[in-house]
């Protein structure tokens, strides 16, 4: 089962709750600070995602979408 | 604004009733479909009459836990399309101020009755006063405009309540009915007609649901909740679509000017007054509500004595007919302002009468002003 993990970066505020809750270490802080002054969270290992939705459910900015690849 | 001619719920004829009752019957006749209230002397009888009628007419009544809650509830109800009302006296009127300001800011039509009693504070619950005139105008904080009506008889309590609902609907604003305990608890005859004219707000139409766009004095349409408009109603400064704009100077200015122009720009349709013997009045009386009854008697007595006295009686107290003050003052030698407070109307009259001599006849001790005391003030003021 493959999952597509999307972070809407202009909604992300860099709280990193997703990084803390992800059981598979899918996310990492971006390497660069963006022009809002935020280091966003990036889904760098989406292939490891198990679709638990912990990130999407807990994002205070509704910025994360996790969907099955074949959808 | 189109008027609809509707049958009243009462059989046409003459009724002997209390001022509070008449006010409630007027509300029912006008189509009031939601009332939220709280017990307070001397306004509880309005609520009592409403409860009885609403059971018969199957309309919604709710007694709330306090006056603040009843004001909030009538605003909420109004956004579902209801014509809503609450009734109180001084202490409750004070509590309602914040939510009254909310109704003004959100352009919510509703009617708020204040049956004035002696204040300040608990004062004298069963005795009469006119101490809330300025509070009706400025009780809620911030720059704002309001409509307030002042019935002087039980019959007027019926008709002015109907007018209050019509003005609220037409101008999308709360309308205050300033009665006195004296009228509220008085029994007089009311002639109820077969039909009356009612105005209903425009719910669907071109444009945004809130003001701020040109022309600033236009009344925007007011859709109701649950019809797909996904309304953004807020007491924060907002643009015409309802979005909060708390950092924007122009949005605030446009909104405020709209709220003002909506009413001040339509004074002709809002301001009503009566004149008695003013054509050649050298002694001009200006009064409102129950005090005006004594003023009229004083004027009639004065005329018998040969004095050229006249009365300007305000039916709408806010906004005031300031142009009429000035016009009548021009021909007068003195102006007498009888009121059951220490000079709230007098101050406004002085403002608009360019240095004319203005004499107050004042009492705030719970008793009604007497025609004799007014006549005495007229004579002492030089009226011959």
């Amino acid at each position: 089962m493959a999952y597509k993990v999307t972070v809407r970066e202009n909604w992300c505020k860099g709280c990193y709750i997703c990084i803390s809750l992800c059981p598979k270490n899918v996310f990492e802080k971006a390497g660069l600070i963006d022009d809002r002054g935020i280091i966003v969270s990036k889904a760098v290992r989406p292939e490891d995602c198990i679709g638990c939705q912990m990130c999407a459910d807990h994002c205070p900015d509704l910025a994360i979408t996790v969907e099955k690849e074949d959808e | 604004m189109p008027k609809k001619n509707v049958k009243t719920h009462l059989k046409p004829g003459r009724y002997f009733m209390q001022g509070d009752e008449a006010c409630a019957e007027g509300a029912v006749a006008a189509g009031c479909s939601f009332f939220a209230g709280y017990p307070i002397t001397p306004a509880s009888e309005i609520m009592e009459t409403i409860v009885r009628r609403f059971e018969e007419e199957k309309r919604v009544f709710i007694q709330m836990e306090d006056e603040i809650a009843s004001m909030g509830a009538i605003v909420g109800a109004a956004w579902t399309g209801a014509k809503s009302m609450t009734a109180t006296s001084g202490p409750g009127f004070s509590l309602k101020m914040e939510n009254l300001g909310y109704a003004i800011m959100t352009e919510t039509p509703c009617v708020v009755v204040d049956v004035q009693r002696v204040g300040p504070s608990t004062g004298q619950a069963t005795r009469t006063a006119q101490g809330d005139l300025m509070q009706a105008r400025w009780g809620t904080h911030g720059e704002h405009t309001i409509i307030a009506l002042s019935p002087w008889s039980v019959e007027e309590a019926f008709y002015e309540t109907i007018r209050a609902f019509n003005l609220a609907e037409q101008f999308r604003t709360p309308v205050i009915i300033l009665m006195e305990e004296a009228t509220g608890h008085l029994r007089e005859v009311v002639s109820v007609p077969e039909t009356i004219d009612v105005i209903n707000r425009v719910e669907e139409g071109e444009g945004s649901p809130f003001g701020g766009k040109e022309p600033l004095d236009a009344v925007p349409p007011m859709p109701r909740f649950g019809t797909g408009h996904r309304l953004l109603v807020t007491g924060s400064t907002h643009n015409p679509d309802g979005y909060r704009k708390t950092q924007d100077r122009l949005t605030q200015e446009n909104l405020l000017n709209h709220l003002r122009d909506k009413i001040e720009g339509h004074k002709k349709e809002i301001v009503e007054y009566e004149e008695y013997f003013t054509e050649d009045a050298e002694t001009l009386l200006i009064s409102f509500g129950f005090a005006a009854r004594a003023a009229l008697k004083a004027v009639k007595e004065a005329r018998k004595k040969g004095m050229k006295a006249g009365l300007l009686r305000l039916k709408t107290v806010w906004p005031m007919p300031t142009e009429r003050f000035a016009a009548l003052a021009a021909q007068a030698e003195r102006i007498i302002v009888p009121e059951m407070n220490y000079g709230q109307l007098r101050g406004e009259v002085e403002r608009y009468t360019a240095g004319k001599r203005v004499i107050g006849v004042n009492r705030a001790d719970g008793e009604v002003i007497t025609p004799e005391s007014i006549l005495k003030a007229m004579e002492e003021g030089g009226a011959k």
Binding site: W11, K13 | S33, G226
Partner: protein
């Protein structure tokens, strides 16, 4: 957030005004997901809120009829809406300062009278928007702007308060319990009776900064560790979660 559920929010006001890691945002997320999973009719839903960050959850983020009222008074306005048009689903979403401190009286009367509205309290134990003053739910010992040496007063236990007042459907969850919260929201959305939610949302900036929970992820972890599912035994020293 699932693409299909975005219709319930006004995308034009995102990114939201909430601070990074704000628990109220998690509440918003769960509420939107609940609506989405039910394919809820967003045109028969009125969201009423008061003043404060909690009051901004619904207004202007939600793409429904919203009524952003005066401080503490969301419930009376909501009662007016619901009683005047009982067909509407009316949900109050507001903060602990708004709903339970200044607005406490309206809350208990609504519970007592079992008014058929849903009341969701975004409870972050502080008055956040005004800079972090103590509220009726600030824990004993917590530092706030108005209790710099630690709060002395006992807070309300909102579950006990509302149940005591007569509330029949009373829940508590924390921001950590996003999925359970969403499920419970779905129950309340399908019920035309009084429901109350004490949602421990967490305020990393005003509360967390003063109480060693500044990091949002750390605050969520703390919620996870301190919570115990309620199965009949109530522990006052824990955050009891579930249905009561």
């Amino acid at each position: 957030m699932k693409q299909e559920y975005l219709k319930y929010i006004r995308e034009n006001v995102f990114p939201s005004t909430f601070c990074p890691g704000c628990g109220h945002g998690i509440l918003l997320n769960a509420f939107v997901s609940a609506l989405g999973e039910l394919n809820y009719d967003q045109d028969n839903l009125v969201l009423v809120s008061g003043i404060g960050c909690g009051g901004w959850i619904a207004s202007p983020h939600m793409n429904t009829d919203t009524l952003h009222t005066t401080h503490g008074r969301a419930i009376p306005f909501a009662i007016g809406v619901k009683m005047a048009n009982p067909k509407l689903k009316v949900v109050v979403i507001s903060g602990d300062g708004d709903l339970t401190t200044i607005g406490g009286n309206h809350l208990i009367h609504a519970a007592r009278r079992r008014i058929p509205i849903t009341v969701i309290c975004g409870n972050n134990n502080i008055y956040g928007m005004t800079g972090g003053q103590a509220s009726a739910t600030t824990p004993v010992g917590a530092r706030t702007m108005t209790t710099p040496l630690g709060n002395d007063y006992l807070p309300f236990d909102l579950v006990k308060l509302v149940k005591g007042a007569g509330g029949d459907h009373v829940y508590r969850f924390t921001a950590f319990h996003a999925m359970q919260m969403k499920k419970a929201f779905k129950e309340a959305l399908q019920r035309d009776e009084f429901s109350f939610f004490d949602i421990i949302t967490g305020c990393p900036v005003q509360y967390g900064r003063r109480n060693d929970l500044r990091d949002p992820a750390k605050m969520i972890q703390w919620m996870k560790e301190e919570s115990v599912l309620y199965t009949g035994e109530y522990h006052d020293d824990k955050i009891m979660v579930g249905k009561f």
